[in-house]
């Protein structure tokens, strides 16, 4: 079964808008939560990641919010640009494991 649930499946925003993607997990052993960006014909590329000891992390225009008690985390893309149009995946892992569990992905379209 899918260990990380991601929503929405797709979203469209205008340039400058703030797309928000949400993920939820059940496995409390997860302690590493990355977000990947994937363009058509390419593999996923690490965008930003967070550990459960912090509630928010910012890197450039990308922000992760993390709610440990709710077992939820989200990605915000500030001042979105057409070049941000891509598929975004949340994922989770734990330190004793060697694999990532991915969400189903969100296709973001930023209109100029």
């Amino acid at each position: 079964q899918q260990q990380v649930k991601q929503s929405p499946q797709s979203l469209i925003v205008q340039k400058g808008g703030i797309p928000i993607i949400n993920c939820a997990y059940e496995n409390t052993a997860f302690d590493y939560f990355p977000w990947y960006q994937q363009f058509p014909g390419k593999g996923p590329a690490l965008l930003i990641a967070i550990r459960p000891d912090v509630s928010e992390k910012k890197e450039g225009r990308f922000t992760i919010s993390f709610n440990k008690s709710a077992k939820q985390f989200s990605l915000h893309i500030m001042d979105s640009q057409p070049g941000d149009s891509a598929t975004y995946f949340c994922a989770a892992s734990n330190s004793n494991d060697y694999k990532l569990s991915f969400g189903a992905g969100t296709t973001v379209t930023v209109r100029a």
């Binding site: 990380v4 990355p34 593999g43 995946f89 330190s95 694999k99 990532l100 569990s101 991915f102 992905g105």
Partner: protein
């Protein structure tokens, strides 16, 4: 600095055939993981190779097998292909000791089974 290289980029196979996909890890990486990404879905873990041994396996049948060579490159073999095996196959290399946070993905091999 060369990243992860996968070959071929695309291939078409007939149901029942066998296929071999190849991966060269990023320079300095010693671990290779394979993922299957069906259309419109997130990648699913197949298995990971380290020190030429399969270290962990996901929920895939034994039609899926692999190998890692002393130079850390890896192969994914799929026997008795089914239509449902059509997917993008991704290789991720990493460095043992740093684990998942050091993952670097290749661009994948698009397999179509007809």
């Amino acid at each position: 600095d060369a990243g992860v290289t996968q070959s071929p980029t695309h291939l078409i196979k007939t149901r029942g055939q066998q296929v071999t996909l190849r991966c060269s890890p990023k320079s300095g990486h010693d671990t290779v993981s394979w993922y299957q990404q069906a259309l419109g879905q997130g990648p699913q873990f197949i298995f990971q190779y380290y020190e030429e041994e399969e270290r962990q396996r996901g929920n895939f049948p034994d039609r899926f097998s692999g190998h890692q060579y002393p130079n850390y490159s890896s192969e994914l073999n799929v026997n008795a292909l089914l239509l449902g095996d059509s997917a993008l196959y991704l290789c991720a290399s990493s460095l043992a000791g740093f684990g998942v946070p050091s993952y670097t993905f290749g661009s994948g091999t698009r397999l179509t089974v007809v």
